[in-house]
């Protein structure tokens, strides 16, 4: 019998980093910026949080203050990903560089930045610990709601750290802003036709900057969640893997709707760990084939959405194009 009570919470925990990433990327893409730097930004978000927590744990010794232990990594992570977002905006919006290349460069830089500081932080700070293990800080991030241990309901809905709930709230809020507010309307106008938006008096550059930076900060939280909650504060090189790319794929999967992303990310999270739950006996090789499932599903979804070709399911019309007012 398939064990749903233990499967679903794990699927949710796998899905939340993807949800952060895809919500951030949706906001970014709605402004017409195709940010392929999300994987890098998520690494930077994670490592900045780790750096903050590491130094705080070092200086505080054994007795951590609960509020600071959460606030310091959170702020560091947000600042780090904000910086990455600003860099991307400066290059693509102000300097009108090619978005694909800028994004890939950002990913190279971000993943390198994460792995470098993850691998060298101890050496650079000259401390005596053998590995980065932030169990103290992580304990605060993993604090669950009361009643988490009791019964199926508690396990399914109450057993997550606060960032998981934040992810859901943020994505629902993003969906609401995009569809129901004037800011969202302006943002969509910028993404669909910056010329028209400019003519209507909307500050195109400002909308692009703000939405991309906010999007980056949200995506960076995904990295932080992964390190602090999912891996219990243990950094290992390249552990975050390809989740950033899956988050970008998820944006297409959800047809640019963050509220759909809540369920879609849990589904993807489930697919990601499905190989641990399919009985394959002693044949280890087959397990490797099961790991393909999320990617195959992504491709099928990509193909299906492009074949259905409904008007409301299309990407923002100016996605990937730099806007220059004097260009015809």
């Amino acid at each position: 019998m398939f064990d749903f009570i233990s499967f679903i919470p794990r699927a949710v925990m796998q899905g939340m980093p993807l949800l952060f990433g895809s919500t951030g990327e949706t906001l970014t893409e709605k402004s017409g910026n195709l940010n392929l730097g999300i994987p890098g930004i998520m690494y930077v978000g994670a490592i900045c949080g780790v750096i903050g927590a590491f130094f705080y744990e070092q200086s505080a010794g054994g007795n951590l203050n609960g509020f600071l232990a959460v606030a310091i990594p959170l702020c560091c992570s947000l600042l780090g990903s904000l910086f990455m977002g600003l860099l991307y905006c400066f290059l693509t919006v102000t300097l009108r560089a090619n978005q694909n290349v800028t994004g890939l460069a950002l990913t190279t830089f971000g993943v390198g930045f994460g792995n470098f500081f993850g691998g060298s932080l101890i050496k650079l700070s000259g401390s005596a610990v053998p590995a980065i293990v932030l169990s103290g800080t992580s304990a605060y991030f993993r604090k669950t709601l009361p009643g988490a241990g009791s019964g199926a309901f508690g396990k399914l809905f109450l057993s997550y750290g606060f960032l998981a709930y934040t992810a859901v709230i943020v994505s629902l809020a993003a969906a609401w802003v995009l569809r129901r507010t004037r800011v969202g309307l302006h943002l969509r106008a910028v993404g669909e036709s910056p010329n028209t938006a400019d003519a209507a008096g909307i500050n195109v550059s400002r909308y692009k900057y703000v939405s991309t930076c906010v999007g980056s900060m949200i995506a960076g939280l995904g990295g932080l969640y992964y390190i602090m909650d999912y891996t219990s504060g243990i950094w290992s090189s390249d552990a975050f893997g390809d989740r950033g790319w899956l988050a970008i794929a998820l944006v297409i999967f959800t047809v640019w709707r963050p509220n759909v992303g809540v369920l879609a990310s849990i589904l993807f999270g489930g697919l990601y760990i499905l190989h641990m739950y399919i009985p394959s006996g002693m044949n280890l090789a087959v397990k490797e084939l099961y790991k393909m499932i999320p990617y195959v599903v992504t491709i099928v979804v990509l193909v299906l959405t492009s074949m259905r070709n409904k008007r409301e399911n299309q990407p923002p019309a100016s996605l990937g194009l730099a806007y220059f007012r004097e260009e015809r």
Binding site: L36, L87, F90, L91, T94, L95, R96, A97, N98, N100, V101, T102, L104, A105, L106, T107, T108, F109, G110, V111, G112, F113, G114, N115, F116, F117, G118, G119, S120, K123, L124, S237, D242, W245, I248, A249, I252, L284, A285, V286, E288, L289, K291, M292, Y295, V296, T298, I299, L302, V303, S306, M307, N309, F324, E326, E327
Partner: protein, 366 residues
């Protein structure tokens, strides 16, 4: 009184075409600035003085004959992948699947080496390796291309996902073929018989790969600039509507170009497995598919310039690797330096395409 019109401090306008040496001077200046910043960052991290930093970068690449050969081998492989994806990029088709196409080519090569060893003469195995790797790479690229041509499916994400599928497929076969059982890796294939190993020229292990890639580079240059296919690729890249209007079958060009792209990637995988590594791992491509995007774009999709850009990136990677080893730091340091250089060169494109006109304030003060 209050009818002041606000003049911005500067305004940006498009520039006409610059002379080629002017634009390369701007890029050169950006590169120089980036190198200075890289030196500063390295100094800050390691505490060594900048001159010594540059010295160890140089030593990491050219310190010994073996290091120089490794450098040239890495340049050749990176250049090969860059050449492969360039036709697709000229067409504005973002093939990020270089890694996957290489892996699948390598997998096909490995299959030939393992399954045909002892059954066919050595030359026949090598022919099989070449044919199967080229076919495998081409098929891997054709799948996204067909969907792109037919339904305009997003090729960036499609090829990206194909990378991971290729990785898992390789992981599967590594376990199937693992030697010894339970080791989780294949090890050196046919170490005793050397069946399926590409011949070496003299005692230079890497020379054959380098020569093949050099020939490929010239061939690709000619193909892109002097053939009808190359012209069609450029037209489709500039404007699909124009291409349709003049009677180019856009779908056909997309699929054909991606087939070529994948075939050369498959060949690169073959060179890597059959020529130098003689084994297969899931990380054998070491992310070259992505680095190649930068190489190709930095060179403005010109195969000859790509020799320099791939040299630059590999040189830095080896140099930064050397610094990282010297100071016991993580090898990812190279990625940070590469990132910095890329940001500068990406930014410098702005000054090539646009000019900034400052407000003339003299004599207009209120």
């Amino acid at each position: 009184m209050n009818n002041k019109t606000h003049t911005p401090l500067f305004h940006v306008s498009k520039r006409g075409a610059l002379k080629w040496y002017q634009s390369w001077a701007i890029r050169g200046a950006a590169l120089l600035l980036a190198l200075v910043l890289c030196g500063l960052v390295t100094t800050w991290v390691t505490g060594e003085d900048p001159i010594a930093v540059y010295k160890s970068i140089w030593k990491g690449s050219f310190g010994s004959a073996r290091r120089a050969w490794v450098l040239f081998q890495n340049i050749a492989m990176l250049l090969c992948v860059s050449l492969a994806i360039t036709p697709a990029f000229r067409m504005r088709c973002w093939n990020l699947g270089g890694d996957g196409q290489m892996l699948i080519g390598g997998l096909a090569t490995t299959a030939c080496m393992i399954l045909l060893a002892g059954k066919l003469p050595n030359w026949a195995i090598i022919v099989c390796m070449v044919v199967s790797s080229v076919l495998a790479g081409a098929v891997w690229a054709a799948i996204p291309a067909i969907f792109k041509a037919k339904w305009n499916t997003n090729e960036t994400l499609f090829t990206l996902m194909m990378n991971y599928i290729a990785t898992q497929l390789v992981a599967y076969y590594i376990i199937v073929w693992e030697v010894p059982k339970g080791a989780g890796k294949i090890g050196i294939i046919n170490q005793a018989t050397e069946a399926g190993w590409l011949p070496t020229i003299g005692s230079y292990k890497y020379l054959l790969n380098i020569i093949i890639v050099a020939i490929l580079c010239v061939a690709m240059y000619v193909y892109l600039n002097y053939s009808k296919h190359g012209y069609e690729i450029s037209v489709v890249g500039e404007s699909e509507r124009t291409a349709r209007y003049v009677g180019i079958k856009v779908e056909k060009v997309i699929v054909r170009t991606m087939l070529l792209s994948g075939a050369v990637c498959g060949l690169a995988g073959m060179l890597l497995v059959g020529g130098t590594e003689h084994t297969l791992t899931t990380t054998i491509t070491s992310g070259r598919g992505f680095t190649a995007v930068m190489v190709s774009w930095l060179a403005k999709f010109n195969p000859i310039w790509m020799i320099f850009t791939s040299f630059l990136l590999v040189f830095l990677e080896r140099g930064a690797g050397q610094i990282a080893t010297n100071f016991g730091l993580s090898a990812s340091f190279a990625d940070i330096l590469t990132g910095i250089i890329l940001f500068f060169i990406i930014g410098s494109e702005f000054f090539i395409n646009y000019q900034i006109n400052f407000r003339h304030t003299a004599g207009k003060e209120e």
